[in-house]
Symmetry: C2
Subunit: 673 residues, 2 copies
Amino acid sequence: MGGLGKRTDCGDARYAGLEVAWSSDIVETLETTLAGGWDFAVAPLVHPRYRRPAPSALPRGTFQPPFTRSDLLLTSSQWGSQIVGKASPWIDCDSECAPLARDSAAALQQELAWAAHLGLQAVVLPLPATPLRGANYARILNHTLGGLASMALWLRIPAMAPGAASSADGAAAADGSSADTAAAAAAAGEGPSSLAADPWEWWNQLRFLCNHHPRLGVMLELGADLPSTDNLERWRGEPLKAVVVPTSVFMTNKRGFPTLSRRHQDFLADCFTRGVQVVLSGNAHHMPPEAPGGNAVAVGPGGAVAAAAAAEHPLRLYWEYLSFLFRKLPASSEQELVEMGYRDYLQSPLQPLQDNLESQTYETFERDATKYTTYEEAVYRCLLDRVPQEEADSRVTVLMVVGAGRGPLVAASLRASVRAKRRLRVYAVEKNPNAVVTLQNRVVADGWEGTVTIVPADMREWEAPEQADILVSELLGSFGDNELSPECLDGAQRFLKPDGVSIPQAYTSQLQPITCHKLWNDVRAYDDIEHFETSYVVKLFKFHPLAPTQDVFTFEHPNRAHCIDNTRSIRLVFECMPPAGTVCHGFAGYFDAQLYKDVHLSIHPPTHTPNMFSWFPIYFPLRTPFYVPQGSKLELHMWRCAGKHKVWYEWAVTQPLVSPIHNPGGRGHFVGL
Amino acid sequence: MGGLGKRTDCGDARYAGLEVAWSSDIVETLETTLAGGWDFAVAPLVHPRYRRPAPSALPRGTFQPPFTRSDLLLTSSQWGSQIVGKASPWIDCDSECAPLARDSAAALQQELAWAAHLGLQAVVLPLPATPLRGANYARILNHTLGGLASMALWLRIPAMAPGAASSADGAAAADGSSADTAAAAAAAGEGPSSLAADPWEWWNQLRFLCNHHPRLGVMLELGADLPSTDNLERWRGEPLKAVVVPTSVFMTNKRGFPTLSRRHQDFLADCFTRGVQVVLSGNAHHMPPEAPGGNAVAVGPGGAVAAAAAAEHPLRLYWEYLSFLFRKLPASSEQELVEMGYRDYLQSPLQPLQDNLESQTYETFERDATKYTTYEEAVYRCLLDRVPQEEADSRVTVLMVVGAGRGPLVAASLRASVRAKRRLRVYAVEKNPNAVVTLQNRVVADGWEGTVTIVPADMREWEAPEQADILVSELLGSFGDNELSPECLDGAQRFLKPDGVSIPQAYTSQLQPITCHKLWNDVRAYDDIEHFETSYVVKLFKFHPLAPTQDVFTFEHPNRAHCIDNTRSIRLVFECMPPAGTVCHGFAGYFDAQLYKDVHLSIHPPTHTPNMFSWFPIYFPLRTPFYVPQGSKLELHMWRCAGKHKVWYEWAVTQPLVSPIHNPGGRGHFVGL
């Protein structure tokens, strides 16, 4: 009940499960399981060999005994939190033997209805008897999913198809379902053999047939051999809910304790941090050595305790080891803890031109010390470049902060001025009257009198009393230009001297295609097209990039073009990296801004400014996820469009298939000028 | 920070506030307030005498100092949880003096925008300078409410108009706003004088103008005199968020401590249990007497401590007294604690004919021991009536439970049989295959073999092997017939003997008009007509009945009519009880069932079966709330309609105004057959 450890930053991953065999005395089975440290039992819903005829195949009025034990054996809160059900392994809804197919369909519906009746959190489903040949199975799952209030279905899939690696052997489930069906799949040989040999494809077919239902997830069963890292990483964007670790994949350390290979350890650690639950299956292959009073290597200082505990539960040593792996995860940083609440949470981008930010929003952004020291550095270098030492005392540089907010860039500029020993006259231009109150109060409180002038105005309309040497702004969105920095700075540059400098000098956006099943489903939950034509600021977490990023749009300031055109258009061709097929749910976007010369601010993964947290990536969804075959090219078109009162993006995919153009005319989402 | 006491069953009422005067050093003011035990301060947003011209009235470029102190003085979490703002008292948006009206409107908008910027939970609003003449004021509030994300507005209203009671005097707010405006209202004399003298009417006009906005609430200021209990109870259905208790209404007990009258105490206790927060206002009128080491009467054993504490904060004694009132509230019963989560929570009625109940739902209902002992009593009396003592051994009564669920009525009937010493043969008819599994398992587990036959069938279709003496069912909904008990029992009575008995024998529904601002807004939040044409099962909490209940529809079983007609139609005329005007948001419904002779089950308030919790009332909403003038009649039409595959209700009001007929043809809601 206490979980694998006390840390709560891994979500449900702190709760580990144990796969148990059928027992009519489920009360005792559950008690034993909990006493062994496990938090829940994965238990058959019906005796796994009880193949029963479909009611429709029976003469009317035939007496049928109860098909399973009573729900009264446990309380509904026990069923709901401590039992995950397993559907029967003999079920084969797509069998060519009609009676078996009929009985299977009836039994599957009966078992899923029973599990929903019990209020279980999840039911583990076997693979279709022949993977990639499970359309009827999917039809029944799909039908059931449509009527479920909250229960999840976990499709049990081997991490690697049997036979795909030399040493893969009998590391199978207690009832052998996965291994059997996987072997069948490998033998089936329908379609390209690479598909039949890739369990991800088996999942993908069922997932598409069930129309990406948010309560259909994956339970991945590890073997002694693991597939390549690339292959495993594909699951990061998928609804991976649980990982099964069979006892047979454990090795034995010098002292006789169970241990896992380094790769298994790393994969489990990754699962823990992603909130994926671990389930142990199989019988004990390790008994604790005669306790010599010394410490067990793997378990740490609890060796003697572990030996005693093992006497209580034959699988206790495995629990101790999993708990050890869980507890030794590096602690989350403070920033990670703060960001945790934002993971995969869709936020609409700010509309700073239309809305006034609130005090709390300013407070959050102002906490990002890295961002402001980087701005300080940019202003510092610019001051040194523009004002030679001999003019340090005589020349006053005019610096205007446009969009001053509550003043952090004013303060950073003043710090740069002190460091550079160059004199400044600062104008702080801000249109939000509430932030102006803060600025006005800071003039007195922070000793800005005589140096800083507060200007309560929209920078696009203000008539400046003099021209500026330096124009400092932070108008960037997660996709660079998406909060209309170009339009604002174009409007403000009329009061910049001909040789004046804009900080930032330029910025470029980037995109890459990603798998992100959960995020896409969250967009779909709005149940309209509009939300598929909106971009979102998201702390991407359960996602997987399909290709390296590519640059999209670049803007430079000041823009001395005779006629300024901030519309853009681009065609990008991504070479998809994965070693096998995958799925695309949309695109992740980033930006890199050149503040001044080589001083950059970036959320572009390859160059991300360390410890900066003001921006999360942006997500451009697609109305329909699509399959990306191995080695496929992915072609994306992206437009930045502008009207008199608004700016918006449109996007479309033309390879490997053709999508509709998203957000035509800004109908779904635009940013108002 | 700890609140008035540890109990958490009164929601936010455990947090008490203190009204403070303007201070530029809000940091120190807040620290002192918290140190005195208060959880939040009600503080002016701007210096209350700072009347400033509207920006539109100033020449462009006029320098304006910051209109208030900086938001940086407190963290946004302090602003958000420890400060409730107050709008300036001089604001008079409806003044006949045009410059004052113009400046007022600008200042009100500015202050509300500032409060939203700070992220305050609420802002206290003064009454319009002339109550019932605040349309322009309402326009600005309404406009602001439309743009608010989460902040609430609390309209400050005196519980009683000054002059309405002989002894009402200067029990006013620190800035005197309520008392002044109330006096003005009483003097204004527009409309019927009873309206001008009833502060509820002032609230009601603003609330209707702001279209019942869910974030516009009431802060009620108590005077030394309180209005009648009937009058105070009207607030139970209104969004009463806080109560202001001026120090001037406190009396002094024998030992010199502040104390409140019994009526004030009772009203505050009622507020606490309804989650209404208390705010103290005014200066200290009580100093602790020289502590003689003895106990203070009102405060309990903390007298000496209290005296010491008062030295820290001049109003500490009042806090101690409020805390004492809070802590002495009777503890909630276990049932109340369970039901707390359901208060004012809209549930769609069950569709037991179409959906199968889940295990947890059965478990919850089966916990209601009272219900089943009442059924047991009904079966017991019926057995004694039907089988004379001399036939006790020879005659076997055939009892059929139709809709047996997991068997609680079977068990109750068997207990009755043992008590009555009469023999039974039981058929348990149940259409839910999951509940049938439980029943089948109970046959063995509970020793029902030979007595109980499980019948997995719909009672409307089952072909019974013999006729029943007693037909037991529990098919009642919160409105009696709304889960189609009549239709089901009509279908089942064909296997009842001509002299057989149905338990229940009859049931009748009741209705009454109610005020329920929150509930109505929750229905409106769905933003469609359909939800206004649906009835809801609700644990009614923040509501106020306007008239005694009246009977609606009655059904009797068995129904031996030649042609059974379960449609019904009724016109009800309610005489509204309140001593003054009120508002109607819809109707609360109940039922009373006669199980057998004088054994009843009832959720009808006057006859509610004690300790029975299986049914909450039902709520029939109205699309538009309407004002009910004092002494008005309220005429309601209600229909029970039936089609081939469904049953539904329609309803309409024809006095004091005419509503549309709700739910024509069952378009919004019906129960499927």
